[in-house]
Symmetry: C2
Subunit: 338 residues, 2 copies
């Protein structure tokens, strides 16, 4: 929600020009009108303190946030921060969700008819945009939580804020290796796609290779999705097929489902099998055992996305590509073999 100058006039029972004078600290306004206007401004508390001027000038320029896969619990934290950051910058936010298999660029193209649209933040999306794919976008955009790793776009034409999925997966698996594990299973979504799953799988492979551990295909299981139920079944296939002392899951939710399945197979975590993941969801703090995971800097990614976009819109910033680091959240799901 974002208050426009017209709304303030309506709700305070004054005129647009009066509101404008109040917000710009113009002396030519009665004390009564000033009080009425400021009361509404405060009551709706949607107008950031420092942007009363911006509000008047830019009124209701809108940043669209297109969320791909709204059921992703990791995104809810990010949306919250993005929203307040957008308002703090003096813009309105328009929130759109699409299914995890829908095309966010097509959704964006349809938003172009919205005349107040000034920028887009994609929260989740494909990793393989081509120049043609984005040709329809006439406003600046930021890819939040992903980079165009498999695509071909002029980096100066867009921005991205993400973690380096391959490097972080490498770190997670490296952590297991440093704790003496060599039979390390991987629970991924799918191999070979232009996706986060592929990047994290590559990090897994590289960490094994660097430690001189041969890749055993029997230790890699594809769930086919990021859903807990699919991860749960995939973990059963893994447990029935192979022996391993550690499991790397590409997401917290998948790790949680896998831990449940392991316990049904009388494989205790961490006594018989250590588990590590990437995400750092709040809820896996309350699993038993608490999940050890690499926590994504959700708030920081949200803030950086909005800051970059706002800089572009103001004209004093440039497109850039930021990779942020995760932070190890030590739970009780990894034990040392040594």
């Amino acid at each position: 929600m974002h208050l426009t100058i017209k709304d303030i006039a309506k709700y305070s029972g004054t005129s647009v020009s009066t509101v404008s004078r109040v917000l710009n600290n113009h002396p030519d306004v009665s004390e009564k009108a000033r009080t009425q206007v400021l009361k509404i401004v405060e009551q709706y508390h949607y107008v950031p303190n420092n942007s009363a001027r911006n509000l008047v000038i830019r009124e209701s320029a809108t940043i669209a946030v297109i969320v791909r896969g709204i059921a992703n619990p990791f995104f809810t934290r990010i949306i919250k921060t993005i929203e307040s950051a957008i308002y703090a910058e003096g813009y309105s936010m328009s929130l759109h969700q699409i299914g995890s298999s829908d095309d966010e660029l097509m959704a964006a193209a349809m938003l172009e008819r919205e005349k107040r649209l000034c920028g887009i933040i994609f929260l989740g999306g494909r990793f393989n945009y081509s120049a043609m794919d984005v040709a329809t976008l006439r406003v600046p955009f930021v890819c939040c939580t992903y980079a165009n790793t498999f695509g071909a776009l002029d980096p100066e034409g867009f921005s991205s804020v993400a973690i380096d999925d391959k490097r972080e997966a490498y770190r997670a698996v490296r952590f297991l290796i440093e704790h003496g594990h060599r039979r390390i299973a991987a629970l991924i979504e799918a191999k070979g796609g232009a996706s986060i799953s592929q990047l994290r799988y590559e990090g897994y492979c590289e960490a094994l290779a660097d430690a001189g551990i041969a890749l055993d295909p029997a230790l890699v299981e594809c769930a086919g999705s990021f859903e807990m139920e699919d991860a749960y079944h995939a973990a059963a296939r893994l447990a029935e097929r192979a022996h391993f002392t550690a499991l790397f899951a590409i997401s917290d939710a998948m790790a949680m489902a896998a831990m449940k399945q392991l316990s049904l197979h009388n494989i205790r975590v961490p006594e018989d099998c250590s588990v590590i993941a990437i995400d750092g969801l709040e809820l896996t703090n309350y699993c038993t055992p608490t999940l050890t995971t690499l926590e994504q800097p959700a708030e920081e990614m949200a803030l950086a996305s909005v800051k970059t976009l706002a800089g572009l819109l103001r004209g004093d910033g440039t497109n850039n590509h930021v990779f942020m680091e995760t932070k190890l959240r030590t739970g009780a799901s990894v034990r040392s073999l040594e």
Copy 2:
């Protein structure tokens, strides 16, 4: 996202009148134009099969969905279903989130400036609307997941789809009593408010009273919010203060956090303490032990909300108030004392 006739014309390189003729199966249109138009319609797959006519007639009438507390994991399932139901009825959806302490009616009032707005679904909200509160709403609205239990509104002026929170809490606690429990603790958000927490607390009290069990204030703990972290600390206070053989938590997430805390106090679930909750989140299927919970009919509530609103908009439906029943999802967190 919803395709308007103008969008189809634009993307298919035809005119609005051509698109209209195609969608209405008018014979006076070239095969080439027909193919182009239908290709776009299919490609964007946003247009439900049976509503091509509706699309033309009503174009882009919009139903706003105002989500209060988007971090509530229970809502994500509902949003998904609401969205597809709205499109299936031939409307566009506009999604808005507000904080859990923000006022959804104020948010709605600000949406009134949107000229295409034809109805509102409130997903979560206050339980105490007065006639004055809703006087600014000029379109029909449905309260989804809550009823105006503590307020005073003409029931014919709005609709609601919810569970009967008091009755369902009664059922949950009754289930524990039937399993031989008498020392039953309650983990709630707060007492006395016009809220879901108060209703579920009342159900707890009534179930105890009907079973001749005196209410022991030492067994009731307020977390102060629905957050897992607050529930976690509240469960510690409970565990350190009182002895109980069962715990009723007013939400799944709170129950999960409490189970974690109990295990740290060497209170095993369900051996030493049974736990039951209300919600039926997917993720508590993967807790250890699996949570026994009363599952809310999320999809059914979503569908009923949209169906009611669509009936009102078409003019062939009336406002009504539906209470749906939860379904017991038997986990492994409750044991019988007998």
